[in-house]
């Protein structure tokens, strides 16, 4: 069946910063992307707070902030318990754009945080975190085909701890299989096509200096990965209808990483946090007197009465504690430098029906520093190696090639403006189609 109607394509590059894609295109590492850049407009875009993929992509596909879509990070705590959950597509409280009829029949491939797949008009392969391929795919009949393509949801990044060369080989394998799947599925009928490359983010976590520093021993190997991505995009774009508008984007940016700062350790040292046992196994070991705890990367929650089994913080104390926490965070210094670039309070950044579940504070780290919320850390700060790159919130990118004969659409300043942009593009296509039909 040949799909009819105006078609829209979206290509995602997880974690690729604005400056990097601009430079890789300009320097000829990504010639296909460069060619595309001549046909449309490249901009910087702000990520979500915090700048992690699950939150950012959830905003991209719904057009909402976390206070509405309900995804605040890779982890969350189930109400009335200390059970650490990994919220996913089933917990997303706002509909993704492809569930609106405007977008017609869709192919949604490897968008993070869309697991488990559910029935929809078209095909869906969830991106990470997706532990079971059979639940990651709709329709289920596609699973065998994916296995034949040797498709993997994600590269096993643990190999990077053994050898970066091995890791690069695995990244390439995963990319090749992903390209096979993308090319196979772009040939099938669709009205909206969205495919995300996620290996870019994995690579930048471990190989940021290799990408940015020409003297690095793996510089060429790392650039080769981007060449392959470019080639893959080229083959994909070849198969798109020429007149179709194209959006290309990342969910957050990146920068160099030197030091990891353990936020729960900080809370412990400052007396905000206490454990019931010497070596905490989980949040379930939070002691009665704890007033706050953190979830990755630096979402700080008050240990509220009524919300957590041993929570003691009452509504009347909340504001004062938030002030104290914000003040303490502002003072946080590691290795002689300020560690916190900015502290957001809940009401500054989140709004909507899910806002009660939001963290009370979110700390944004200074350059070179990454916040983590592990429980067992013995020290406040530690070298981040083998991790050398970290997410950054203000330099995601957005590229739009408008439909033929149309102006540039209104600019999307942040990830939650993407869905309205997609709607705008679809609508303008429908209008021009109607005009043509008249």
């Amino acid at each position: 069946m040949e799909a009819k109607g105006p078609r829209l394509a979206i290509i995602g590059l997880d974690g690729v910063p604005y400056e990097l894609i601009r430079d890789l295109a300009a320097k000829g590492v990504m010639p296909m992307v460069d060619e595309l850049f001549q046909e449309g407009k490249l901009d910087k875009m702000a990520s979500s707070v915090p700048a992690v993929s699950s939150v950012a992509w959830s905003s991209i596909i719904t057009g909402e902030n976390p206070g509405t879509h309900g995804i605040f990070g890779f982890t969350d705590v189930a109400a009335g318990s200390y059970r650490l959950t990994f919220p996913n597509f089933a917990q997303l409280k706002a509909p993704p754009f492809w569930e609106e009829s405007l977008f017609g029949r869709s192919a949604i491939l490897n968008v993070p945080s869309t697991y488990p797949a559910r029935p929809m008009n078209g095909v869906h392969i969830a991106g990470f975190v997706a532990p079971d391929l059979t639940k990651a795919v709709y329709p289920p009949s596609l699973v065998d085909q994916l296995r034949a393509w040797e498709y993997e949801v994600d590269v096993d990044a643990s190999s990077a701890h053994q050898s970066l060369e091995l890791f690069l080989r695995k990244l390439n394998q995963t990319l090749d299989a992903r390209t096979r799947a993308f090319l196979g599925l772009v040939e099938r009928p669709w009205d909206t096509f969205m495919a995300v490359y996620t290996g870019t983010d994995r690579l930048l976590h471990f190989l940021w200096p290799a990408v940015t520093d020409p003297r690095h021993r793996l510089h060429e190997a790392a650039l080769d990965y981007f060449r392959r991505v470019d080639h893959s995009i080229g083959r994909l774009v070849e198969r798109l209808p020429e007149e179709a508008p194209l959006v290309m984007l990342s969910d957050h940016g990146f920068e160099a990483l030197e030091i990891q700062v353990n936020i729960n350790r900080f809370l412990l040292q400052e007396g905000f946090l206490r454990w019931r046992r010497e070596r905490p196994r989980s949040l379930n070991d939070l002691a009665e007197g704890s007033v706050a705890f953190a979830l990755d990367p630096a979402r700080i929650y008050l240990h509220r009465k009524g919300r957590y089994p041993r929570g003691t913080v009452g509504e009347d104390q909340a504001e004062k504690l938030v002030d104290q926490l914000a003040a303490a965070l502002a003072e946080l210094r590691v290795e002689g430098r300020e560690a916190v670039a900015r502290v957001y309070r809940r009401q500054e950044i989140y709004h909507g029906p899910q806002v009660d579940r939001a963290p009370d504070l979110v700390a944004i780290p200074a350059p070179g520093i990454e916040f983590k919320a592990g429980l067992e850390a013995d020290s406040l700060a530690e070298p981040a190696a083998p991790f050398t790159g970290k997410h950054r919130g203000d330099n995601a990118f957005l590229y739009v090639r408008p439909p033929e004969g149309h102006e540039q659409p209104p600019q999307a300043r942040s990830v939650q403006d993407v869905q309205p942009l997609l709607v705008w593009l679809k609508n303008s296509l429908c209008q021009s189609r109607r005009r043509n039909d008249e």
Binding site: S53, R83, L84, N88, V129, D132, D156, N284, K372, F387
Partner: protein, 509 residues
């Protein structure tokens, strides 16, 4: 009795957990590998899929509604336990015990034990019903539904099928030939015992790897695996404690965490040692979890359930191959055969009453090790010298039942020290798993005498009189032992350690 030994265990220990992989937030990546040191484990609950993906360390048994308070700790509702060797002395008793606690019980047996005992011309002196009748009576009298399958566990296909079907959450592995003398009869018997035990267990481990990796294996070993180290060093619970040290040549190494030496005392015991290594390795290679239970010699006939109806009785053997020491003494006392002890009777062993063994097993089932954890418990409630036991039985028989009882010391058919130091560490069950013995030796001996003295049972002992005295020698000779000394225990005499006389029977078999 302590119920809270497992309250703080988490889903990480629970067999209903399905590990799904790992996420490493520092790399924003996922790994489908279930076991890693990096990152955060993600799990789903097979019983409560609505929980979605979560961190298995963040929910305790105490908080999980699937785990309910029971008499022996938090109990997984309708927990599915597969008992291999369910027709045996311990297997049948455990099936009824667990069934009446609300566990869902399935079992396998090929009636090997009934054949082995018949091979010697013997029988269970407490009559036992055929399996169909046992199952029917369990349903009628106790309301327990047991799902039973007859096959040899060496038939790996059938074993796999049944595991697949029943989806056990714990597997109790009793299905081995438990007799030391039987394994010493000749080459054929030694090879048979080792094949049955070692290959049976190995097949089970492979089946678990493929079909039930989350189930907890409770594998029966024996205290006899350790032997009796003549240096008197303590017999630890299978694994050296963290502060154990090896000194040699002016140098020092930590032994903490290593398996302790094994020094088995028959080819049967060797099969158990081989099992130990096979289980240990599978935990290491495949992240299986297991308790290796170094069980002492079990004595007794009573639990509430087996006593509830004659068709529910468990077997009770007193022949030279399959009878265990205290049980044999009681039978000998009842039919007027002198209680037989070997050599000086100074052999010291760990013992446990049948009912207490059931309590221990329940606690182990309810407290599964972590994935990949091979754990060992020394399952005994006390340590006795054999001649002291003979004297205790003789005294109770004389005092309470007016029986005239003699003790005779025989040449020792075995190769073992009959005077030796013996310091057993048995701390995990009482200290970590809340085990409190409920039965005293004297009480249980009294109960056994009371049952065995009934004419119908007494005549069944009489009928197998000729197979009670030992004839199987470790040397290979098949011949009755010479009597070294025979003496009478006077009524109302207080017996203590080091009393004169003695010899021993066969502590295990």
């Amino acid at each position: 009795m302590s119920k809270d030994h497992n309250a703080q265990k988490t889903c990480w220990n629970c067999p209903a957990l399905e590990l799904r992989g790992h996420v490493d937030f520092r790399a924003c990546g996922q790994s489908m590998r279930k076991f890693m040191t990096e990152g955060q484990a993600m799990a789903e609950c097979k019983r409560r899929p609505e929980l979605g993906l979560f961190d298995p360390a963040s929910l305790t048994f105490e908080e999980c509604p699937e785990w309910e308070e029971g008499p022996y700790g938090y109990q997984l509702r309708d927990m599915r336990v597969l008992i291999l060797g369910i027709d045996g002395y311990l297997g049948w008793t455990l099936a009824l015990w667990l069934g009446s606690l609300g566990f869902r019980v399935a079992g396998v047996d090929n009636f090997n034990r009934r054949r082995w005992v018949a091979e010697e011309g013997s029988h269970s002196v407490v009559p036992i019903a055929p399996m169909e009748e046992r199952l029917r009576a369990a349903k009628e009298v106790l309301g327990i539904e047991i799902s039973f399958r007859e096959f040899d566990i060496l038939d790996n296909e059938k074993l796999r099928q049944f595991i697949q079907e029943f989806q056990p959450e714990a597997i109790v592995h009793y299905a081995e030939c438990p007799s030391a003398p039987y394994s010493m009869v000749d080459f054929q018997h030694a090879a048979y015992v080792q094949h049955n035990n070692v290959i049976g267990t190995l097949g089970l481990l492979f089946a678990m790897r493929d079909l039930a990796p989350e189930a907890s294996l409770i594998k029966l070993g024996t205290m006899g695996e350790y032997g009796t180290p003549l240096t008197g060093r303590p017999i630890f619970e299978g694994i050296f404690p963290a502060d154990a040290v090896l000194q040699w040549d002016g140098r020092e190494w930590s032994l903490g965490g290593e398996l302790t030496p094994r020094d088995p005392v028959s080819f049967y015991h060797v099969s158990k040692v081989q099992d130990t290594f096979n289980v240990y390795e599978s935990c290491k290679y495949w992240w299986l979890r297991s308790y290796d239970v170094m069980q002492g010699v079990i004595y007794g006939v009573h639990t509430e359930q087996v006593a509830a109806d004659p068709r529910l009785r468990t077997r009770f053997d007193v022949d030279e191959w399959f009878g265990t020491v205290i049980n044999r003494f009681v039978a000998q006392a009842v039919v007027g055969i002198p209680l037989t002890i070997y050599g000086s009777g100074g052999q010291t062993r760990g013992f446990l009453a049948l009912r207490d063994a059931m309590q221990c097993m329940t606690r182990l089932i309810l407290s599964p090790p972590e994935p990949g954890q091979y754990d060992v418990v020394n399952q005994i409630s006390g340590v006795y010298r054999v001649r002291e036991l003979a004297e205790t039985v003789a005294r109770i028989a004389a005092d309470e039942f007016g029986l005239e009882v003699e003790i005779q010391r025989l040449e020792n058919p075995r190769v073992e020290a009959d005077e030796h130091p013996y310091e057993v560490v048995y701390e995990k069950l009482p200290q970590q798993l809340g085990f409190e013995p409920q039965v005293t030796l004297e009480e249980e001996v009294y109960q056994m005498l009371k049952l065995l003295i009934q004419p119908s049972i007494r005549s069944r002992i009489e009928a197998i009189r000729q197979v009670i005295l030992p004839k199987t020698r470790w040397s290979g000779l098949h011949k009755e032992m010479d009597v070294i000394e025979r003496y009478k225990v006077r009524p109302r005499r207080v017996v203590g350690l080091g009393a004169e006389g003695g010899g021993e029977d066969d502590p295990e078999r």
